[in-house]
Assembly symmetry: C2
């Protein structure tokens, strides 16, 4: 992901949130996280995030997706004696197609992008709809043609523990990788 791509994604997310009535502080706007999951195809596989709070016990974020953008398949494993992250997705704007474990939906609305995808039970979330994902459950999601804003309410979020089905995924934003100087991008 280039610096220009990142800035563009931040600007898109800031505008989408503002249009939906979400007020951010200046620091939050400047710190919008852009994840390309190490795949280098941001428009296709990517996510923009604002993390409001993330303590050892509770967490809340806004997730912004561009039209057709996908968050790759992953699950939240147990960590530090907890069962792992339990999260509720609530759609605020647009439509988000959420795929979880279970009976594959015949004729699903989305096709996954390039990568490894194994769960195809479809839930369609429109504004006001929500769904709670238990820990340890594989899931991925894709925005509809107008993009989407999803509020995420959860227990503690520890991105570095997320287990992605596609071994090529690295859950780290370019700026974080640079800031952390981990070198191999495997830290988060």
């Amino acid at each position: 992901m280039t610096a220009e791509e990142r800035r563009g994604a931040q600007a898109y997310a800031a505008a989408a949130l503002e249009a939906s009535g979400v007020v951010l502080t200046e620091a939050e706007r400047a710190g919008i996280e852009v994840a390309d999951f190490g795949l280098g195809r941001l428009a296709e596989s990517g996510l923009q995030l604002v993390v409001y709070v993330n303590t050892d016990r509770h967490c809340a974020k806004e997730l912004v997706l561009r039209p057709g953008q996908t968050c790759p398949e992953h699950l939240h494993p147990p960590f530090e004696g907890t069962p792992g992250k339990e999260e509720t997705f609530r759609c605020r704007r647009g439509v988000v197609h959420l795929y979880v474990e279970g009976e594959p939906t015949p004729d699903p609305a989305c096709r996954p992008p390039q990568g490894v995808y194994t769960v195809f039970h479809e839930l369609v979330l429109r504004p006001g709809d929500q769904y709670t994902i238990p820990p340890g459950t594989k899931h991925w999601f894709q925005a509809g043609p107008d993009g989407a804003i999803v509020s995420e309410f959860s227990t503690a979020s520890r991105d570095e523990h997320d287990a992605f089905t596609d071994p090529n995924v690295r859950r780290v934003a370019a700026q974080d990788a640079a800031a952390r100087s981990t070198g191999d991008g495997s830290a988060a």
Copy 2:
């Protein structure tokens, strides 16, 4: 609280949330909780709530306050082996004055309504501002002259455990009391 007061408060909250861009389902609109804390002075001491999710591990709500309306002083004690509810208030609309334990603020913006209030360390939350309240910390809050919408992100919420400073407070909505047929209103 009369049925008419309750309906009026629900209608106010639904309109305020809609104006702020929050989309509710029909069931959520119909189920907006109105709390008068058993004091019978709803305009002064009261709260309107939409509970999005409340599992054993995470919870999210929207709190709606009318102009000058106050949520009485209380704390969240330990329960069921947990340290008690940890909650983040994020102001969405209007202004909310939050009072917590600590050095009393000289010349605070609000005066508490009739009742028992003992903490006066003031935080002023405007849209985009937020504050996390640890378990076991006394707090109360009052909306400014235009009312307020506050998103609450937290660990599990168990209203029946809330400890109010004022012994006259009963944390139960009239419709809940009727539904539960507890008779004395002390169940929640």
